[in-house]
């Protein structure tokens, strides 16, 4: 039938124009992109001001001599610790040791948690059997696994990864379960009507439809991985393991170096926030926006 302008015998000629008018009226103006200055003012500035205020209060507390210096060092003392690590070239080594463990652990957790979550979400019997256990595991502090992991694996990387996995897998699996549960049944029906069955349906309907919930689960899974990792590193100490942030903090504790301990806590915090800010948040925003679930102007 070629062109859309083929008019059938009795068609009113103005229908196309009428429809174009309606479409134009109803589709609205589209998304507005806020300018860089506005983003700076509303998104970047507030957290920076908050951090500055915390530092200020800290400095004031230090000046007020609320505690002895070895209990409450100043921000400057912590900065000096960083400078020293920088000079010795160990700053990024410590960070990277932990981050690489965290990322590897997280990726293994994703590889295990995703199929597990799909199974729980789609197979009633599996859900009845292990659904509650997964939820329960999620509320168990991962540090509780550390003694068991050390007995099982000894003081080595396996123990650390075991703790990370036990912390992150339930959270990722629960994320995909929530994602699948939130799929409007209409999508699944529509998929079936189009002929999507079995794995085809999983690939073309189920997984993309569950993506927003899954991403939220991944984000939480990363937070759990990172937390569990720090818990494990604090306790699993051995010269052969290399020094991650957790081990570094424990070393500073034995040296009674409060500035070092505080500095490490801040590093742990910065890494956690940075990974979320640089990776998960943009990814999540992109997915939500492309589905119209997040408006640009708000």
């Amino acid at each position: 039938m070629g062109s859309s302008e083929t008019t059938t015998k009795d068609e009113q000629p103005d229908l196309a124009g009428l429809e174009a008018g309606l479409d134009a009226l109803e589709s609205g103006g589209g998304d507005e992109r806020p300018n860089a200055g506005r983003v700076l003012l509303t998104k970047v500035l507030p957290p920076l001001v908050a951090v500055a205020l915390v530092l200020l209060v800290w400095q004031l507390a230090y000046w007020a001599d609320l505690q002895k210096d070895y209990l409450l060092p100043s921000p400057g003392d912590v900065w000096a610790e960083y400078e020293e690590m920088w000079r010795e070239g160990t700053l990024f080594e410590f960070i990277w040791t932990s981050v690489s463990r965290g990322i590897l652990g997280f990726m293994i957790a994703v590889a295990i948690g995703t199929p597990l979550g799909l199974l729980v979400a789609r197979v009633k019997l599996v859900r009845a059997a292990i659904g509650p256990i997964l939820t329960g595991l999620q509320s168990l502090p991962s540090i509780a696994w550390v003694p068991a992991a050390i007995i099982w694996f000894g003081l080595n990387n396996s123990a650390i990864y075991a703790v990370v996995l036990l912390g992150a897998v339930p959270s990722i699996a629960n994320g995909i379960v929530a994602g699948v549960d939130q799929i409007p049944p209409l999508y699944l029906r529509a998929g079936r009507m189009l002929g999507a069955r079995g794995l085809t349906s999983v690939r073309h309907v189920l997984l993309p439809a569950a993506l927003p919930g899954y991403l939220a689960g991944l984000k939480q899974g990363w937070a759990f991985s990172w937390r569990s990792l720090m818990a494990a590193e604090l306790i699993v100490q051995s010269p052969s393991l290399g020094t991650g942030l957790g081990q570094l903090m424990e070393t500073y504790r034995t040296l009674q170096n409060m500035a070092g301990v505080l500095g490490t806590i801040i590093l742990i915090l910065i890494v956690g926030v940075a990974i979320d800010l640089l990776f998960f948040s943009p990814l999540e925003r992109r997915v939500l926006r492309s589905r119209g679930l997040l408006s640009r102007v708000s």
């Binding site: 859309s4 059938t8 068609e11 009113q12 309606l22 479409d23 109803e26 189009l194 002929g195 589905r291």
Partner: protein
């Protein structure tokens, strides 16, 4: 004119069968044995190839159930439904488009699931979108389209299934009156162009008369065929045409009678 009618796995076509769908003493009840509720009672009905039939009824007449049975989303309790043209296409009241795909990709997915080779999908999807006059909206996301445009994409996606039977479950009920009116014209045009058979469910009497060649009135609880009208008004009609109004009044009277019976019980 058609929408390619080349589904290989089809057993026979509507042309040889003489009907697009046949309901043969179809009943459906829900619930467990003992407290069963009869929803559809002994429905027998043929829709001819290329025919446009509307099913009309108040709440509880089981019209959506009937479409679900026809679509194979549920199984009848008794009787048979034959659809010689293979799996029918179904359009819902909600557009049911996938928000993670663009308008064009939604149509392409239907083609892909039908087994259309990759190289042909894009041009075919573009052709279908221009059939519903959305040639410029291929790369638009679903949320960027208006309600009427979404239903047109949904129609294009349904047509992409190349089914000889199109089931429509109150597809325009959620639209505003102006848009609905335009879509009535579009649907009539596309039906004429493609020769597809349509079984259209609605509770809107004027809509039923505006669109159909035949209007079937279902009674409620359980749904039975209460009456049938042939609509011999020439297309294209307008919803405000005198002849459409006159028949609508007659059908509405009959519909109210059916509804009143429930108050008296």
């Amino acid at each position: 004119m058609a929408i390619a009618l080349d589904k290989p796995e089809r057993e026979g076509t509507t042309d040889t069968a003489g009907y697009a769908v046949r309901f043969d003493h179809v009943s459906k009840s829900f619930g467990r044995a003992g407290k069963q509720q009869l929803v559809l009672d002994d429905i027998s009905l043929d829709v001819a190839p290329g025919e446009f039939v509307t099913l009309l009824g108040a709440s509880g007449c089981g019209k959506s159930t009937l479409l679900n049975l026809t679509a194979g989303l549920d199984a009848a309790s008794a009787g048979t439904i034959s659809v010689p043209g293979g799996r029918p296409a179904l359009m819902f009241q909600e557009h049911a488009l996938f928000p993670w795909l663009t308008a064009g990709k939604n149509v392409e997915l239907a083609l892909r699931l039908r087994g259309v080779p990759k190289a042909q999908r894009r041009p075919e999807a573009e052709r279908l979108l221009s059939l519903v006059r959305l040639q410029g909206s291929y790369d638009k996301r679903v949320h960027e389209l208006s309600g009427g445009m979404r239903q047109r994409v949904a129609l294009a996606r349904a047509l992409a299934q190349a089914s000889q039977l199109l089931l429509m479950d109150e597809p325009f009920a959620a639209l505003d009156a102006i848009t609905r009116d335009v879509l009535h014209e579009e649907l009539t045009r596309i039906w004429t162009e493609t020769g597809v058979s349509v079984l259209f469910v609605t509770h809107n009497v004027r809509e039923a008369v505006r669109l159909a060649q035949r209007v079937i009135l279902l009674s409620s609880r359980p749904g039975r065929i209460a009456h049938e009208w042939r609509v011999d008004i020439e297309q294209p009609r307008r919803i405000e045409d005198a002849a459409v109004s006159a028949l609508s009044v007659e059908i509405t009277e009959r519909l109210r009678e059916e509804i009143r019976r429930h108050g008296q019980q």
